[in-house]
């Protein structure tokens, strides 16, 4: 498990809800094309988790399913969510428990503006050198832990709390991973994003940890930005970013801005990664289940296909990963304004992967 050989890889697939199923099909198509007849044999097992199951059975993530998932090399997730399910049920019942239980402490989200893709920014002016950075979002703690509660609900005296829990253990491991990624990139630059002037307890822990772990990476230059200032730079000077490390909630926010400036969440891939490989990592598009366009075969599968590229890379299949990314880049460069169906996009990219 998660020590895949180059001969066989065994993927758990969670298609999920809405467009999840449609985009996952294209992701698997490209996975097949990238591994081909000469690469590892790919086997997949589907797991039905999501709104449909919850609506039918009230189940979110049964323990037995979680145990089965642990047995695979990696997980490919489409999208989970449906307006018929109350807010928080699937997030706190499936998505976050998966990240937490499987120790996905590196939530990796690349932001790259590919040639041919239109950004909402005036790119020629604010990003003449292009956009190409990666956010390492902490995935297992911070404000996402679900600690908190409410008192006197429904009365004028109601109080609700949310507790952000931040540990040296949890921060150190993600910061070390982010430094290693920065070290491996040409610019070797790491920006910590937090709000340590207001959230002083958590902020100082993050800052000290970056300083101390940084001593192990003398080649990496570091910078710090408050989250509010970081969002300004994301729209006025995104070229300044190389690797960004940040907490779970700030990471949620800035990766959506990052996706927006790099052409939209239709293209934004992510990996929920346990770099220690003691559990399977999970790859998913940043977008949601988009019920408004589900079932019409028009969802853009590109984010899922790029997530498949990240999955291959994580499993050590670097050559296949590179071919997937190159095929996507080539397809994007030629796209123009053409409107193609979900499967046409998948076919076109799969054809280029070979």
């Amino acid at each position: 498990m998660v020590q895949p050989t180059q001969d066989a890889i065994d993927i758990a697939v969670i298609p999920g809800d809405g467009i999840g199923r449609e985009v996952v099909a294209e992701g698997l198509k490209v996975l097949g094309a990238a591994t081909g007849s000469t690469g590892p044999k790919v086997s997949t097992t589907d797991y039905d988790l999501g709104a449909t199951r919850w609506l039918a059975t009230g189940e979110t993530l049964p323990d037995s399913v979680l145990e089965e998932l642990r047995g695979h090399d990696a997980i490919l997730l489409g999208a989970i969510g449906d307006p018929a399910v109350p807010s928080g049920v699937l997030e706190r019942g499936i998505l976050l428990p998966l990240r937490f239980a499987l120790e996905h402490y590196v939530n990796l989200r690349p932001a790259r503006l590919y040639p041919g893709v239109t950004s909402p920014l005036d790119v020629a002016r604010v990003a003449p050198g292009g956009i190409d950075f990666v956010v390492v979002r902490e995935g297992t703690e911070g404000p996402y832990v679900g600690n908190g509660g409410a008192l006197r609900v429904g009365t004028p005296n109601e109080v609700a709390t949310e507790v952000s829990v931040n540990t040296r253990f949890g921060i150190e491991r993600v910061v070390r991973d982010a430094f290693a990624r920065a070290q491996a990139r040409p610019r070797k630059h790491l920006t910590l994003v937090h709000k340590h002037n207001v959230l002083t307890h958590a902020g100082h822990l993050w800052r000290r940890t970056v300083e101390e772990v940084g001593a192990e990476f003398p080649d990496v230059e570091t910078a710090y930005q408050h989250v509010d200032a970081a969002t300004i730079f994301l729209v006025t000077d995104p070229g300044r970013f190389d690797v960004v490390v940040t907490d779970n909630l700030f990471g949620d926010i800035i990766t959506d801005i990052a996706a927006a400036i790099a052409g939209g969440i239709g293209l934004a891939a992510s990996g929920n990664i346990n770099p220690q490989r003691t559990t399977p990592s999970m790859f998913e598009p940043v977008h949601g289940s988009a019920p408004d366009i589900a079932g019409r075969g028009i969802a853009d599968p590109t984010a899922t296909i790029l997530s498949v590229g990240m999955l291959l890379d994580h499993l050590g299949l670097a050559d296949a990963a590179r071919r997937v990314e190159a095929a996507v880049a080539a397809d994007l460069a030629d796209r123009g304004g053409a409107s193609r169906s979900t499967s046409e996009v998948g076919d076109a990219i799969a054809a280029r992967v070979g």
Copy 2:
């Protein structure tokens, strides 16, 4: 106190640090021009709070100063902060205590792209109808309360927590204010921004409060967006926003993006407002003390001047307020690429106010 007549207004001025003093001088220049010989008599009292005082005396906001501030009709703040002061000391010692003690529960931040101002967005494509919305940021609670702490500091077992405290009382008053503002605008549209699918306790309280208070404002249409999605729309479709209401931390982040897309924090004004007028409200530019350019007379005072306009409006001097905003708009329309000194900008706007 804070029941000013039209005959005299009494302003407490906190110039602060860095460019704070420079921009406040221009703000007062325009305040003088806007009130002129026929308007109310303006008196000002300076208070030295900020890095300089802390570095010299260790004092942040002495109780006696806070009591004196309570006696004025309004407060004009330049900017507070200096790299020589450890992170958090002035924020948690001056800025936030002022907002909290004076019940500035409405942190009002307009975002308007004036003609002549350049946005980092490709405006013709993503905001053809312009950008003109206002964020009502809660100012007295949420993750900003300073609750939390750290255990086993400096050890591998360190844990740091931050507690977000959200009350029905605190949320209801700011939500009601936001609805009233939406009601008074042509579009009558209010968007709640939160993350209720993850921060379920606080999120559900916000959501229920908006639903319930909304019943008092049947003309106002409401929408909800998760904070991450809201940041996407801020860069891909900012024209959809009219009034936004959100918590203290989300408001900090989205108002910086709002400032960026509307031409930068050099133009972003804010009011820390107690709508009940039992304490003086405080007006300040969104930008900081900018030590890198301090003392050179090149800081843009426009954000402070627009904040003075908000101050006048809050004090019931609507005509003077409108003249300040119109003078700024006219100046911006003519600015082109000219680089003028801080006082030249102040002079030009003051001359147009009359």
